[in-house]
Amino acid sequence: MSSIRLLVGTRKGAFILTSDGTRKSWQISQPHFPGWELYHLKASPADPNRIYASQTSSWFGQIIQRSDDGGLTWSPVDNNFTYDGVPGTHQWYDGTPHPWEFKRVWHLEPSLTDPDTVFAGAEDAALFKSTDAGASWLELSGLRTNRTGPGWQPGAGGLCLHTIILDPTNPDRIVVAISAAGAFRTDDAGLSWKPINKGLWSKYIPDPTAEVGHCVHHIAMNPRTPNTLFMQKHWDVMRSDDAGDNWTKISGNLPTDFGFAIDVHSHQPETVYVVPIKSDSEHFPLDGQLKVFRSRTGGNEWEPLTNGLPQKDCYVNVLRDAMAVDTLDDCGIYFGTTGGQVYCSPNAGDTWTAITHDLPAVLSIEAQTLP
C-alpha cells in the first residue's frame, strides 16, 4: 500500500509526518534541526530518499542539509552562495540602489530526473544550481543580471525568489517568481530570462501594468499541463495558458483574492485550491473562518471547503509554500498554518482533519507519495 511522507518546515525546526495511504493515522517525528528556521524541504522525484532542506538563522546564517535515507539522518552540504561576478545593486524600499546581499534560501527544487541536481531560490533574489548533491553551488546569474534586475524592489518579506517550477516536458524551461519583481522564465536552461508578467495589474505600483514590480506570491502547475500556470498574486488569482506569456484574472467569486498559497489537483489540472486571506494588512482568514476555496473550472467559479476547518475565532495565515498535494488516486490536499496546525484532506478538499495543532509556525509543506 502506498504511504505519504510530509516534509514540514517550521520556524523552529523540521518535522516529518508519515501515514499509510488511508491518511487517517499519522506519526510525527521529533524535530529535526530544533531551534532553526526551516524554510523549505523537498525530496528528489528521481530518488524519494534524497531530501534537501534549507535551514537558516539570523544568528548563524544559511545551512543546506541533505538526507539520503528519507530524512532519518542528515548531513550539511555547501552553504556558500556567492553571487556571480560583481553583484551590483537592486532597488531598496525607498527606491535607492542597494547592493545585492545573500540572506537565505527560500525554496529548494530538486531536478525531476537527477537526484544530484537541485535549484535554490535565494533572498536577495537569485537562482543557484548544484549538480553535485549540494557540494557546491553556482548562480544562474542570467536571471539577476537581466536588464530589469537593477529595478527590482523587495516585498515586505524581502526580495526573495520563492517559486521554482521545472517543466517536465522541456528541461530547458524554468519558471520562477520573485517578490516583488514578478515572474520570469528561461527557455535555455537558465542562460537568459524574460519577465512574464503581461496581464498582471497591481494597483500599488506607479504603473499598474509594469513589466516588473508585481508581488507574485506563488505559482502552481500540474505537470500534465505545463503550459497552464496558476498564480496567487498579492491581490488577484491569475492563470496563464501559454507558460506565463499572458495572464488573465480568475478571482471570480472569491470573497477576497489576497492570499499566499495556491495548488493544483494532481489528476485534475483544472481543479485549483487557494486559501483567501483578508487583506495585505490583516493576514488572517475573513471573519475568523478558515476556508479553502476550490475551483473545478480552472478559476472564476469557486466553492468554499469548510468541513473540518475552524469556522470561528481562527486568525492564522497560510504561507506561500505551505500547501501541497499528494498523487494518490483520491488526491490528498495538505496545508499548514502560522498557528502550527497541519490539515489534511484525503478526498480532494471535501473534508479536512488536523494532523496536528501544535507545531511551530509552518513555513512550508511538501507531500511525498511513496510506493
Binding site: W36, S58, W59, I63, P76
Partner: protein
C-alpha cells in the same frame, strides 16, 4: 603547540556534532581570533559561513566574541589573544547575541 579552548553556542555544537560545551584545538602561535577561527573552520567545515562570512571573513552580526570577560567583537582579528587564552586557562567564548524575543 598551545591548546585553545572554545565555547560555542548550542546550535553550532549540534551542527558540528561537538559534544559538551567546549572544544579544544591545537593552534601554533601567533594565536589570534583569525587563526583560531581558521583552524576551527578547517577542523569543522560545517561551521564555515556560520560565524563569519565566507568571503569577507567578517563576523556575523548577531555573534559576539568574548575574551577574559571582554567583548572582543570589534577587535582586529589579527590581534594576538592574551595569555589566559593561549595557555588554556580561559576559553574563547563565541556567543549568540540575545535578540528577538
Amino acid at each position: 603547540m598551545p591548546t585553545i579552548r572554545i565555547d560555542l553556542p548550542l546550535h553550532l555544537r549540534r551542527l558540528a556534532n561537538i559534544p559538551g560545551h567546549e572544544l579544544a584545538l591545537d593552534i601554533p602561535p601567533p594565536i589570534t581570533l583569525r587563526t583560531v577561527l581558521d583552524t576551527l573552520e578547517q577542523t569543522y567545515p560545517q561551521l564555515r559561513g556560520t560565524i563569519r562570512d565566507h568571503t569577507t571573513k567578517e563576523r556575523r552580526a548577531f555573534l559576539r566574541f568574548f575574551v577574559c570577560e571582554e567583548d572582543w567583537s570589534h577587535h582586529s582579528p589579527n590581534t594576538e589573544l592574551p595569555t589566559a587564552i593561549t595557555n588554556g586557562h580561559e576559553p574563547l567564548i563565541i556567543l549568540g547575541a540575545i535578540a528577538g524575543g
